[in-house]
Structures are given as structure tokens and as C-alpha cells.
């Protein structure tokens, strides 16, 4: 599904990631951890074609990312839902329109998918906030709206970058539960986080592999987590 093979990524003259080999199999659940600045976000961006590797091979849905045209990358992103810590929305549109944005840009009119949208808003607990503008949302509501937006196209993969970074413990548990539910629906999930308590909480609910970035390389984390 998403495969990185001997990938290196350099930025500003220095190598940020080196010899990375990761395979996200369908239906798997992965955590990516490591200290701040280790390259977690960079690795995630490599996974949805936002960055190209300096060397090595990145395969997105069995296609070498280097062979993809810009429109192909856009289409890949419809199969990969992404949630960032600093979620960006179109601030002039209400939350429901922001959540439906992937449908809009892919030519599926949001009003024909109203049922899906309402169901999704209920799932993330934002039905009452559907008409609010993004700046009016709390941190937790923004993250849940971002998650809803990430999954509205029913993507094969969900990538979340520090999704609980700006929310309290209860909200982070709620978000985790939503991500676990997605995984149980068959979605591949990769969460980048430095929050070890989140990982421990997830391991109680789902079989997750934990990858740790250390010294520019990815290692499978042991039982110390």
C-alpha cells in the first residue's frame, strides 16, 4: 500500500532521514515516535507524496512516487487521509463544508453525499458545530473536524501527525478511539506522536507496531513502550 525502501531525505545540506525502509500493509496500525525534530513529519510527508525522497524508493499504491504526475499525486491524496497537528481549514467556510472539501474537489458534490456527511459529523461529535466557522472551534473540535475531513473519502490510509498535540487527555483518548475504530473498519493507520502514554493506551485496544526514529533511521521499538 505504502512502502518506503532505503529512503533518504536531505534538507538544507544535512541528511534528515537515512536508509528508511517501512511498509504499511493494508489494515495495519502503526505508531511513529521519536524526539521532536527527529523527522516524523518528514516521514509522514514522504508517505503521501508531499515530499520526494533524496534517494531510495517510495511506492504509493504500487506506483513509484517519482513516476507520478502532479494530478496523480492529487488523486493519491484522495486515498490517503491526513490529519496534522496544526490543522488548516478554509476559515471562510463552515465546518461541514470543510469536512466535505475532499468530496468537493474530487467532483462529488457534497449535497449528494449529505447522508455520509451527517453520519460523519455525528461520529466525530460535531453535529452541533456544523455551521460554525473553523476559528470558532476549540483545539479538540478542530482535530475531530480534521479527522472527519480526512476520512470522508473513505481513504485506504489515514496518516495523523501529532493529532493529540493540542488537546487534553480526555480528548486525546476520544481521538484515539476514533482512529482505532477506523482501523477496525480496515483502514491502515499511521500516527506520528511523541506521546508515549497515547501509544500505551492504543496498545490496549489494537495491535499496533511502533516505529521509532533515532539517529535518522527507523527502528522497530521494543517492549519498553
Amino acid at each position: 500500500m505504502i512502502e518506503l525502501e532505503n529512503v533518504a531525505y536531505s534538507y538544507g545540506g544535512g541528511e534528515l532521514l537515512s536508509d528508511i525502509s517501512v511498509k504499511l500493509a493494508p489494515g495495519s496500525f502503526h505508531f511513529l515516535t521519536g524526539p521532536s525534530g527527529a523527522g516524523k513529519t518528514t516521514l509522514l510527508k514522504l508517505c503521501y507524496g508531499a515530499l520526494l525522497p533524496t534517494s531510495g524508493l517510495v511506492r504509493l499504491f504500487d506506483r513509484d512516487v517519482r513516476s507520478l504526475q502532479r494530478d496523480d499525486i492529487a488523486k493519491v491524496r484522495r486515498r490517503v487521509g491526513v490529519v496534522h497537528q496544526d490543522v488548516q481549514f478554509l476559515d471562510h467556510l463552515p465546518v461541514s463544508d470543510n469536512v466535505a472539501l475532499p468530496l468537493t474537489v474530487s467532483g462529488r458534490q457534497a449535497d449528494t453525499a449529505n447522508g455520509d456527511l451527517e453520519e460523519l459529523m455525528t461520529w466525530v461529535g460535531l453535529t452541533q458545530r456544523a455551521t460554525a466557522l473553523p476559528p470558532e472551534l476549540s483545539g479538540g473540535e478542530r482535530q475531530r473536524a480534521a479527522l472527519a475531513r480526512a476520512v470522508i473519502m473513505s481513504p485506504d490510509v489515514v496518516l495523523a501527525d501529532e493529532p493529540t498535540g493540542n488537546v487534553d487527555w480526555d480528548m486525546s483518548q476520544r481521538l484515539l478511539t476514533l482512529l482505532v475504530e477506523l482501523n477496525k473498519m480496515g483502514k491502515t493507520v499511521l500516527i506520528a506522536t511523541h506521546d508515549l502514554s497515547l501509544i500505551r493506551a492504543a496498545k490496549a485496544q489494537v495491535q499496533a507496531r511502533v516505529l521509532r526514529i533515532s539517529n535518522r533511521r527507523v527502528q522497530l521499538a521494543g517492549a519498553d513502550l
Partner: protein, 300 residues
């Protein structure tokens, strides 16, 4: 980035896609105003160009069909030579009409320089014969040879010496009008490109979000292109409307003859300004597409 499908989508519009880019009041008003002002000026450039063209054609035609013979001879010979010249002209193919100007007419011609009280009979003023040619015209070289043989004091002036620079000047004025119109269209393109660049830069976050959720470059570009095209179209339509109205309200040639009063459109010429909004729209479309294409290529 642009093909027939995207062009159709652009023209048809998409009420959802139109909303993804937030309305930007300042650039919207700027684009509307500049498009309108440029179209207004372009109407005058076109009016100037078309009027100059008509003038060049008219001068060319009218002067080509007329000529003058001056009879420069001693006073006792002047009338004889005038009669002889008229006889020559009456048998010259291509001459429709020839007549000698009367003293009063010659005096009227000289009045602007010498005043109304000029004693014409005391001055050695040559007699003038006015010739009007048929549509085919006459052979000026042949006529000169005949006059030289039969009327030694006759000098034929077919106006060619001063007609050519006049016609040339009018033609250059016509070219200038078209050049100004083209420059105005170029300025519209430059303005729209700048405004589109500003809008793209101001909406960097919007573009990042759209890219993140899987929008293609053409989708993003169309959101901007459609907006700027419609603004340029609307602005230039208003500008053309006002320009045509102003030209229409200008004094017509029949009221006060002259070059400036002839500045305007005639017949089908009134339809030419209607092309301007379409041209401005197309220019805005291409300029925005170019700006968007350049901006989006730099994004991942």
C-alpha cells in the same frame, strides 16, 4: 493544465468550487476598475483608429480624383491659354469635368492670407482650372506632355506630392490607434497577472489545504481563473458601454465638420468595441492561468 474539459468546466462554473477561494474585496474591485478603465480607453483608441482609416481612405479617394492646372502666362495670354487647356481637357480620357475658377473663387482661396480686399486684377495671379477625374482616372504623364505642347503656361498638379504624406499620416494614425488598443490589452494582461499573483500569494493557506485534500492543479487554478475572467469581463463590459456612449454623444461630423468631430464609429464599426470584453476576458483567463500555473508548480 488547460484543455477543452477544463475550459468547459470553467465556463459552466461550479458553485462549490467558486466558494473555496475566499472573496478578496480589494483585488476584485481593482480588477473591475482597471478592466473598465482600460476598456473605456480602448474604445477611444479604436474610434481613433477607425476614424483615421476612414479619413485616409477618403483623402486618398477624393484627392486621387481631383487635380489642378495653373495657367502661368502674361495677362493677355491667360484667357487664351485657359481656353486651350480646357479644350485639351475636354478630349482627355478620364477627365469627368474641368472648369476654370472664377475671380471670386480665386479671391476666396487667397482671402485667408491676403484679406477680402485683395485687388486680384492688379496681381499676376495664375488662373486655376479644377479637374475632376472619372473613377478610372486620367493619365497624368500623357496630359502633361499634351499641355506642354499646346498650352506652354499650364502646370498640372495632380496633388500626388502632398496627398501621399497626408494619406501616410492618416494611416500611421490608424496604426497608432491599433497599437494603443494592443498596449491597453497588454496592460490588462499585466494587471490581471499581478492581481492573480497577489491573490495566489494571499491564499497560500487555501491552496495548501486544497492540495492536501486532493485538489488537482487545474481545479485550484480554475477557482482563480474563473473569478478573474468574470471580473475582467464585467469590468470591461461596463467600460465599453460607457466608452461607446461617450463616443456616441460626441458632436457628429454633420454638425461641425472636421477631423475631431469625425472621431467615432460608423455602421458595422459600432460592433467592433463589443469584441473588447471578450478579448479582455480571454486575456484575463490566459494571464490568470499562466500566473496560477507558475505559482502551483512551486508547491508540492
Amino acid at each position: 493544465m488547460f484543455n477543452m474539459r477544463t475550459l468547459r468546466a470553467l465556463l459552466a462554473g461550479d458553485r462549490y468550487a467558486d466558494r473555496v477561494v475566499p472573496p478578496t474585496g480589494f483585488t476584485a474591485q481593482l480588477t473591475l476598475f482597471v478592466s473598465g478603465a482600460m476598456a473605456f480607453l480602448a474604445v477611444f483608441a479604436l474610434a481613433l483608429s477607425l476614424a483615421s482609416g476612414r479619413l485616409a481612405d477618403r483623402w486618398g479617394d477624393e484627392l486621387a480624383r481631383t487635380a489642378t492646372i495653373r495657367i502661368v502666362a502674361p495677362e493677355d495670354q491667360r484667357a487664351i491659354q485657359t481656353t486651350a487647356a480646357l479644350e485639351v481637357l475636354s478630349t482627355t480620357p478620364g477627365v469627368a469635368e474641368a472648369r476654370a475658377l472664377t475671380d471670386e473663387e480665386q479671391q476666396a482661396l487667397l482671402a485667408p492670407w491676403f484679406g477680402q480686399d485683395l485687388p486680384l486684377d492688379t496681381l499676376p495671379v495664375p488662373r486655376l482650372i479644377e479637374i475632376e477625374a472619372t473613377g478610372e482616372g486620367f493619365d497624368a504623364t500623357g496630359l502633361r506632355l499634351r499641355l506642354a505642347a499646346e498650352v506652354p503656361g499650364a502646370v498640372l498638379d495632380d496633388h500626388g506630392r502632398w496627398r501621399a504624406p497626408l494619406v501616410s499620416a492618416a494611416q500611421r494614425l490608424r496604426l497608432l490607434g491599433w497599437t494603443v488598443a494592443l498596449l491597453i490589452i497588454g496592460a490588462v494582461a499585466a494587471m490581471v497577472t499581478l492581481a492573480a499573483n497577489a491573490a495566489l500569494a494571499a491564499n497560500a493557506q487555501v491552496i495548501a489545504v486544497l492540495r492536501l485534500v486532493g485538489a488537482t492543479d487545474s481545479y485550484i487554478a480554475n477557482a482563480f481563473v474563473r473569478r478573474f475572467t468574470l471580473r475582467a469581463l464585467a469590468g470591461s463590459a461596463v467600460g465599453v458601454g460607457l466608452g461607446v456612449l461617450t463616443v456616441w454623444l460626441m458632436p457628429s461630423g454633420s454638425e461641425a465638420p472636421g477631423f475631431l468631430t469625425g472621431l467615432g464609429f460608423q455602421g458595422a464599426g459600432w460592433l467592433v468595441p463589443l469584441l473588447l470584453p471578450v478579448i479582455c476576458g480571454c486575456v484575463a483567463l490566459l494571464a490568470t492561468a499562466y500566473a496560477a500555473s507558475r505559482a502551483l508548480r512551486t508547491l508540492t
